[in-house]
């Protein structure tokens, strides 16, 4: 036996060494890349799975149940095969959502539910505390074995429990929760745990090699001897009944779940993971570790039995065999290995549970009870107290329970507790429909059934509750016996409890998820969790601008899309153009923002070709963005939204506002365009008018000058002709005729000049409201119609008064009548030559129509052909030899000045009808200057 003080000193020295290593790691982590950021350290730290219960208990289990210890390690190996998918998902989710514990993980998935987190924390706490007790038991009992001599135990031996508790508390605080770390990563502690795992492996292998090869001659020898000398032992060990295989399978399943969902395993595998790549190494290294630490379990167990130790003491074979063989240093190494296994578990578990307690139990309570608000400022102190509470509770449990059934079996019961987290956790990362209600119902039901079928019977077997509960059921209801629930009697207690708790858990989870609707946030979270591997991990803003999308792949997709609507060559050309417009034509890889720009260009082009809706649909079907890129783009938009510092509701309101504004602006723009068109038309008309006026003005000025210059000599000619005609009264008839002709032609010239001046110069309008019939009769009376022409006046009496310039309108009527007279005379002359009877007729009529007043002059003269009709109103256009071509032009001009219209209708050899329409309210009394 070893001296207790020496063992304690070595133990403290060993812990101190671990502390120094941890301290170095923490300091190195702040200066350079963390030494823990290493796949081998990560893989070794995962071996915290192998606790003191494993270290000593496996041999005990092998000695009593044969290979039944093995599924505890085979299960994790099987589960690890899927780690590249499952664990990597969890690690990525942890990074993205800043997860700090398994309770945080599950609650984050289910709408960040505090209730879910609290429930998971309670399950973890209830499952972990007795497990910690088991570790204390391993340390204290092995210390007792290694140090106890024949006599009474030393002071150290008697107080080993409190000493270990104190050391654990101090060490856990120093390494794990010395300060608050939002990431809940503890590189120093993880390195210490990795070293401990290495020590326990070396120690166990050393013990195994010693027993197998030094106490015996290898594996074959041990198997041979036990078969020859103690076959009854093997019969006990290799049970072949059905229950053995069912238990084997149950262990396998529980262990598969435990490697992921035991709170400490989740913490080490997920929270403490530095790099997803480390998982690859862990996938083979951790199973290899488990294989190595188990390869000598059966030989040690058999060796102990062959040496004559009782099977019930098999838990101590690892330590006892070297010790009783006089191998003190080996025994000390084995003790340190066992202590490493136990302390590693205690530290990691207590930190994990403490984090969950403070985050998911204490803080909600503080929020609820206002006067406890001061505790928020002392969160670190609260954690120190909580970790002390967890450790002391574990130790107290060990002292209270001791050798009871419960403590021995708590390992598998704790595994079954962790198993309750599996449906919600796995469902959360694999099933989109899983929701908060389902998780709460499933976890709650699973936990209640687990407590009733596994923990409660353990209490009964430990003697804390009357065993009538197991034998008769509660209130004598056999149907509700905890270990034979609903009459199921064929399963062993563990399998029975696991079966029912899993059934209730999964059933309620699925039912709740299907029965209750998911909120929008839950849907987003479900998508985020389930699709985390096919999405781009959370990247920084600059990373999102990184060019990581292969351009030619997108080109191909776009080209294929465009080929559906265009020819191949045109599609390729258009694709190039879209990339060119997006300014990424020359790039091999493009960023998500650039891809979005390309997408917009393609959509613009397609919208122009097939319409907006069809283009939108076509682009969606083409899937230019894969799910990962779509998410990345969403994140870019989210970033933009965040940078705008507006809520989505505000953004929607702003978008609505801007859309309305855009619609208004578009409407205004259309109105403006219309007005611009109208103004342009007016301006063009005004310009034409101006040009016309300018031309007329020039003509007018020219006419005025020419007229003035002509009228003077004409006046002289007329005067001279008059004088001559007076003096030559007795002259011959021929001379007299020429004199008359001179006077007549001078009169015609004067008339032409007058018309020219009338047309070009105009004069100020003098519109006066008056009755048109009386005025018209007066004008007609002044006119001299040839006798042979029959003049008819049809003047309606009910014609309203209108405003018109009497002098100008007189000119209109005179011109029209003169034209009519010339037309009928010309026709009369023509018909007389042909000796055809003809009765010339001119009809002047007035009438009102649609608030307009019409003056119509109708003759049955020569009429006009279509070409003449079209050009009749053109200035200087005439078909007569002596006409000026200004008569109708003047008519049109004057009528338009009155805002009226002139309509000419003529048929050759039948006559002409000219209708003047004057608006009743057209001409204002103070007319414009023309």
């Amino acid at each position: 036996m070893l001296d207790s003080f020496m063992v304690l000193t070595i133990f403290c020295f060993y812990m101190g060494l671990l502390f120094l290593i941890a301290l170095w790691v923490e300091r190195a982590s702040t200066v350079d890349r963390s030494p823990v950021n290493n796949p081998y350290v990560y893989s070794l730290s995962l071996a915290v799975y192998c606790t003191g219960w494993t270290y000593y208990g496996s041999v005990g289990k092998a000695a009593t149940s044969g290979l039944l210890f093995l599924p505890i390690y085979l299960g994790p190996t099987i589960a690890i095969i899927l780690w590249w998918t499952v664990l990597r998902k969890m690690v990525r989710i942890k990074t993205r959502h800043h997860i700090t514990s398994i309770a945080d993980f599950i609650s984050a998935r289910y709408n960040k539910s505090q209730s879910v987190a609290a429930l998971v924390t309670i399950i973890a706490l209830v499952g972990t505390t007795p497990y910690i007790a088991l570790q204390f038991k391993a340390i204290i009992s092995t210390f007792s074995i290694i140090t106890s001599a024949e006599g009474s135990p030393s002071w150290v031996g008697q107080h080993m429990g409190p000493i270990v508790v104190g050391l654990m508390w101090i060490f856990t605080i120093i390494l794990g929760i010395r300060r608050l770390d939002p990431t809940e990563r503890h590189p120093g502690l993880i390195m210490a745990v990795a070293v401990e795992c290495l020590v326990k492996l070396v120690a166990f292998l050393a013990a195994g090699i010693f027993v197998t090869y030094f106490l015996f001659d290898g594996f074959t020898d041990i198997f041979k001897k036990i078969t020859e000398t103690q076959p009854h032992m093997l019969v006990e060990l290799w049970k072949t009944d059905q229950s053995y295989y069912i238990t084997w399978t149950t262990y396998l399943i529980l262990a598969m779940s435990a490697i992921m969902f035991l709170p400490r395993q989740f913490h080490v595998a997920v929270i403490e993971n530095f790099d997803e790549d480390h998982i690859r190494t862990a996938m083979w290294m951790f199973p290899l570790y488990m294989l190595l630490i188990n390869i000598f379990v059966l030989p040690i167990a058999m060796g102990g039995l062959l040496k004559g130790y009782p099977a019930q003491d098999a838990d101590t074979f690892v330590l006892g065999l070297p010790l009783h063989s006089g191998q003190k240093w080996l025994s000390l190494l084995v003790f340190l290995g066992g202590a490493s296994a136990a302390t590693g578990m205690i530290m990691i578990s207590s930190i994990t549970v403490t984090t969950m307690i403070t985050n998911h139990l204490l803080l909600p309570i503080v929020d609820w009870i206002k006067w406890l608000g001061f505790l928020r400022r002392h969160l670190l102190n609260c954690r120190w107290v909580a970790v002390a509470g967890v450790i002391v509770t574990g130790y107290g449990f060990e002292q209270l329970v001791g050798e009871s059934y419960m403590l021995v079996n708590i390992g598998m019961i704790a595994f079954a507790a962790a198993f309750q987290l599996a449906p919600a956790a796995l469902g959360g990362i694999a099933w989109h429909r899983g929701n908060q209600a389902g998780a709460l119902l499933g976890l709650g039901a699973g936990f209640v059934v687990w407590f009733y079928t596994l923990l409660l019977p353990a209490f009964v077997r430990s003697g804390w509750i009357a065993d009538s509960l197991l034998s008769n059921g509660p209130w004598g209801i056999a149907f509700l016996k905890p270990e034979q629930l609903f009459g199921v009697m064929t399963l062993d207690a563990l399998t029975h409890g696991v079966f029912w708790s899993f059934l209730f858990n999964t059933g309620f989870y699925v039912f709740g998820s299907l029965f209750f609707e998911q909120s929008e946030q839950e849907k987003n979270l479900a998508e985020d969790f389930a699709d985390v591997l096919i999405t781009v991990p959370a990247l920084g803003k600059s990373s999102r601008r990184e060019s990581h999308i292969v351009a030619w792949e997108k080109k191909k997709i776009i080209e294929d899309l465009l080929c559906q609507y265009l020819g191949a060559a045109e599609a390729a050309s258009m694709t190039e153009k879209c990339f060119h417009e997006a300014r990424v034509l020359e790039k091999g890889r493009i960023s998500i923002v650039e891809l979005a720009e390309v997408h917009n260009q393609v959509e613009k082009f397609l919208s122009g070709s097939i319409g907006t809706a069809a283009a939108f649909k076509a682009l969606r079907q083409a899937e230019i963005f894969d799910p990962g890129e779509a998410r990345e783009l969403s994140e870019v938009y989210a970033e933009i939204l965040a940078s705008l510092k507006v809520t989505p509701e505000e953004l929607e309101q702003k978008i609505d506002y801007y859309q309305e504004r855009e619609a208004l602006l578009t409407h205004h723009a259309a109105e403006l365009e219309q007005k611009v068109r109208e103004r342009t038309r007016d301006l063009e008309a005004a310009q034409e008018e101006l040009i016309k006026r300018e031309r007329l003005s020039v003509i007018g000025q020219l006419t005025a000058i020419v007229s003035h210059e002509l009228r003077n000599p004409l006046g002289v000619i007329q005067s001279s002709a008059y004088v001559l005609s007076r003096k030559l009264t007795d002259t011959d008839e021929k001379t007299q005729k020429h004199l008359e002709r001179i006077e007549q032609q001078v009169g015609i010239c004067d008339s032409i000049i007058g018309e020219l001046l009338e047309y070009t110069r105009g004069r100020r309008s003098a519109a006066v409201k008056g009755e048109i019939n009386s005025w018209l009769e007066h004008v007609l009376d002044e006119l001299t119609f040839p006798r042979e022409i029959r003049v008819m006046k049809l003047l309606r009496r009910d014609i309203p008064e209108i405003s018109f310039d009497k002098e100008k309108m007189r000119r209109v009527v005179v011109n029209l009548c003169e034209n009519a007279i010339q037309a009928v005379i010309a026709r009369q002359t023509a018909l007389e030559e042909a000796k055809i009877g003809y009765s010339p007729r001119i009809r002047i009529s007035t009438y009102s129509a649609d608030s307009n007043v019409c003056i119509q002059v109708e003759d049955n003269g020569m009429g006009m052909n279509s070409e003449t009709t079209m050009r009749a109103f053109e200035p200087l256009f005439t078909t007569r030899a002596r006409g000026t071509g200004l008569g109708l032009a003047i008519v049109k001009k004057i009528v338009e000045e009155h805002e009226g219209t002139v309509h000419l209708s003529s048929v050759p050899d039948q006559g002409t009808i000219i209708t003047i329409t004057l608006p009743q309210d057209g001409r204002k009394e103070s007319g414009a200057n023309h």
């Binding site: 093995l70 078969t227 076959p231 399978t249 690859r280």
Partner: protein, 76 residues
Amino acid sequence: MERFKKLFRQTEFRIALFFLSLVLFGWPIVHFPDVHRAENMFVYLFLAWAMVIAVLYLVSTTLVESGDPKGENENK
């Protein structure tokens, strides 16, 4: 060799290996018909275990060589 690497790096292969392991380490492959053949079963279990670990090592190596360490395209 490339074919093996391509095989190992596929998710479907890992799923197949998962179920194969369940069979390898479960009933009826694991059974104890004769107490005197316990050693055989012990050897079988550890050999099978070692074999699975060896395959896992190869799988992890191919994942390195896949050039897709982050596995974004794994599920495509």
